[in-house]
Symmetry: C2
Subunit: 140 residues, 2 copies
DNA sequence: ATACTTCGTTAGCATTGCTAACTAATTCCC
DNA sequence: GGGAATTAGTTAGCAATGCTAACGAAGTAT
């Protein structure tokens, strides 16, 4: 089962990713922006942790987002080492537009499913969310 | 729901990918090898289509696999433009080992779930497999 | 036989992941 | 107070993976 779920997840994401081309951003940039939009302002290290990526990688992603004026970098009051990352209005708008596209795409393909199947998927999403949360802290 | 499933899939894969480091292969190489092992020998274009990737990309991935003697390239009898790609014994062994690791990792984290939750996930995997298969041919 | 199509490769670009090494700022400890 | 250790972020450089454009070789069609 684990393997089949893994495989299904891979192929699902490959499909959905194509919709993101419209945003003009790469997947990592889009995902980081999403965390900033929905999670609120945070530091670079925190964002890197949230995205399961190393700080240098996130540093580069944020630089690209800042260049496009989608994210704002301000200095942290109280600790000059830290930076405060915040999605700009433009970033929020772009993200919400892309999100609508993705959801519409997926939802369109789920339309053919029965009500039971939809609720089965919803339940699976909940189970996965909980499982992921619970095993998030431990181990490498 | 679509968005939550999408997000869960992303985070699940991020976790699982870490186990694949042990194989020494990148995710695309591993995935391509998997298709060859489970789907049998095929041409490059077919493999690229199966992996939702353009031919030049797959050409490079196969070249890397061939360099490591995990895949064999033989000429097609009857059409000299085509090549026949086949996983070597070494490739099969490596893939099966990695597969065991991934399954053990995921299964380990699913162990805490109840029987109902497990069957819900299994059902979701089936639904996704069917949905993906049905919408595979159409559109970009 | 010439033109078109198909298959795979090469070249070159952008993105994204990493580690190593660096700077700057803060904290710890004597 | 002052030097050492820690922490936050960046820079440099590598590898893998995605793309398009352009090409050669082989097969098909007119």
């Amino acid at each position: 089962m684990a393997d089949r779920l893994h495989s299904a997840a891979i192929h699902l994401l490959r499909r959905v990713r194509r919709q993101d081309v419209a945003s003009g951003l790469g997947p990592a940039q889009l995902s980081a922006l999403s965390v900033l939009v929905f999670g609120g302002p945070m530091g670079l290290g925190q964002l890197a942790t949230a995205e399961q990526v190393r700080p240098p990688t996130m540093s580069r992603i944020v630089a690209a987002l800042a260049r496009q004026k989608l994210v704002e970098r301000t200095s942290d009051a109280g600790d000059a080492r830290r930076i405060r990352l915040r999605a700009t209005a433009r970033g929020q708008k772009l993200l919400h537009q892309g999100r609508r596209l993705r959801i519409a795409y997926l939802a369109g393909h789920f339309e053919k499913l029965s009500a039971e199947e939809l609720s089965a998927l919803r339940k699976a999403a909940e189970i996965l969310e909980n499982t992921l949360k619970n095993w998030s802290e431990r181990e490498t």
